[in-house]
Symmetry: C2
DNA sequence: TTGTATCTTCAAAGCGCTTTGGATGACGAA
DNA sequence: TTCGTCATCCAAAGCGCTTTGAAGATACAA
């Protein structure tokens, strides 16, 4: 059923039917009701490609999934972020499109998506330090929003981010106040902007307390469970092991706990642990009592906000730059305690 | 840059340029090269909406993300499945579109997606027992593939699934052979088809061994970490606790381990545990030595296969029904051992 | 009665592409 | 010379929608 058929059934022109359905004022209310009834009855859905061609808008927002050859993995926060965004997209009548691209062709994938007219705007996830994609998108004139920020990229762009630095600074200070001096950082890949910021916060807190950072206590990699386990086990076996560990992800924190358990150490007593908690729906940090002391910030909520900001940008391409800095909450759970006296 | 402009630059007709770019034979090779060079130089990308309108195909495949009001969660396997599918879509020139729909409007969302001409086919994830969407899609004539199957739905349809029954039967038998008699099942929501099948496999193995199933040992809910923890803790405290636990998800298995640790029990010695492992990239079951004894089947690979099967279906809508049953591998790790003598 | 304003509807152009059905010219065969 | 055959290329129609510009109908004022 297309517009032409529907208008023939109704004995009206396509113009009138189209206007009736799209809420234009210059159509009689009786006519409008008749048209709407017929549309519902016959299950008419305007063809979105034709509509897009005619209006110049696609009502689709694009995301690019990087499929790196080195580490073929989907970030677990991906699902929650997308779910949050999708909800808002749906509310505003947008669909969401994904394209897969390998590491070498990500820029081209964004350019493609937009220049083909497939999307009205894009979301840029996981920005790296000096992220080149931001410049590319700016120059192209695509409406876009960055989930995160990119140190070293100047020029205005819309972003939403968690205050990674302050939350890790605060978490580190929390451990220092508990008497910890040897505090480890199990961080994400350090070319990722968020990881840089978290490390900066960590270092700053150490600096304020007059503690010299120990490079042996700072690790950086893709934040899997196995990685958390591996690094924690290695650190426990050091001559001068850390009494506290800061971890950039709940997933890796699970690995850390596994390593501690294997070594017969108790979290919160022998070793204190603070994790960053993205508040993933399938991986809540405990129910009533938090398992981990954690810096918490809902990535699903970030997805919702990002979606709304992007839609706003699409509506007014020349509007003021929008930025949004979310503060993570420090949730105190059972994984932290005073530093054990072992000196 | 559109086709018209490009053809004017080249001094050719739109027809010829279009044909040159799309590999039709009736165009001189020299001309084709000239056209291709100009297209690259000017960064010409055919507008996908226009192309779609003209060809009647959208080169997009649709997925629907359910956002239930009760349990607002994204299945963690979602990300990996999608990553696998996206890779194959990209190889075949397809994009992937997501629509969000709440529980009450999922059927309408699928209908919409297709009738609007937004997609050429859809993937149906997480089928329930008697899944009504399958009938809807069949009647609409959309090419689709089901990830999973639906007991109670007859009529042919394409699907790819893991042999849930046989893998859980085998895992249960493995535990029985180790001397376990009280074996618990921490399962997914039982209106989900996969959960039904897993339970069937579990029950059959018990039956074969002449063990009467105990309803107290069978739990069912959304498979979060917290759920695993909660159920395991409750079971441990029973008068006659299980000596082994079968868990439908790695995520919940983490919660189970947490509960065991809290109770001072050692996995594999005091309580044996087998989990189903979807081989998620961020949550591998250990590195060299598996953490858990597990029934393993890569959901990313399932995504890849599903994508290829769907594309095949789109190519030949009247081709034979395709089904694919993957056998899960039983990986033996450190979480299982002989039943403790406590009788 | 005529002119003007308002309401309602319509025909047709246009969005950017593919594809049908020729047109043109070159070339060799009859 | 004339015709058929290729090899190339093109004009124009059509995909299903929105939107411009206009027209018919009605009502009201002059």
């Amino acid at each position: 059923m297309n517009l032409k058929q529907l208008s023939e059934i109704l004995g009206l022109s396509q113009t009138t039917v189209s206007r009736a359905l799209n809420g234009y004022p210059e159509v009689n209310e009786d006519t409008r009701l008749r048209v709407q009834a017929a549309a519902t009855k016959h299950g008419y859905r305007p063809n979105s490609r034709a509509k897009g061609l005619a209006t110049g808008r696609s009502m689709v927002i694009g995301h690019v999934i990087p499929s790196s050859s080195q580490h073929e993995m989907v970030n677990p926060i991906f699902g929650d972020f997308v779910a949050g965004a999708a909800k808002k997209y749906a509310e505003h009548g947008y669909d969401m499109m994904f394209t897969n691209a390998d590491d070498t062709s990500i820029e081209r994938a964004y350019r493609d998506l937009f220049q083909r007219g497939a999307v009205d705007g894009v979301v840029l996830q996981g920005p790296k330090v000096n992220e080149p994609r931001i410049g590319v998108l700016s120059r192209m004139g695509v409406p876009f929003i960055v989930h995160g920020r990119a140190t070293g990229v100047d020029g205005p762009y819309d972003w939403i981010d968690v205050n990674n630095k302050s939350s890790f600074q605060r978490a580190t200070k929390f451990l220092i106040d508990l008497g910890h001096r040897r505090i480890a950082l199990i961080n994400g890949l350090e070319d990722m902007d968020f990881a840089q910021r978290r490390r900066a916060g960590y270092l700053e807190a150490l600096h304020e307390a007059g503690i010299a950072p120990d490079p042996c206590l700072m690790r950086s990699a893709e934040m899997t469970e196995v990685y958390g386990h591996h690094e924690a086990r290695a650190m426990i076996q050091m001559d001068n092991p850390p009494t506290a560990i800061l971890i950039s992800s709940m997933i890796s924190a699970i690995g850390v706990r596994r390593a501690l358990n294997e070594a017969g150490l108790k979290m919160g007593r022998d070793v204190s642990v603070i994790a960053h908690d993205d508040d993933l729906s399938y991986l809540k940090n405990g129910q009533d009592v938090p398992i981990y002391t954690a810096t918490r910030s809902s990535v699903r909520q970030a997805g919702e906000i990002a979606a709304e900001m992007l839609i706003e940008r699409i509506k007014s391409p020349d509007g003021p730059v929008q930025t949004r800095l979310l503060e993570a909450e420090l949730v105190v759970g059972g994984s932290t305690g005073p530093a054990p006296d072992r000196f």
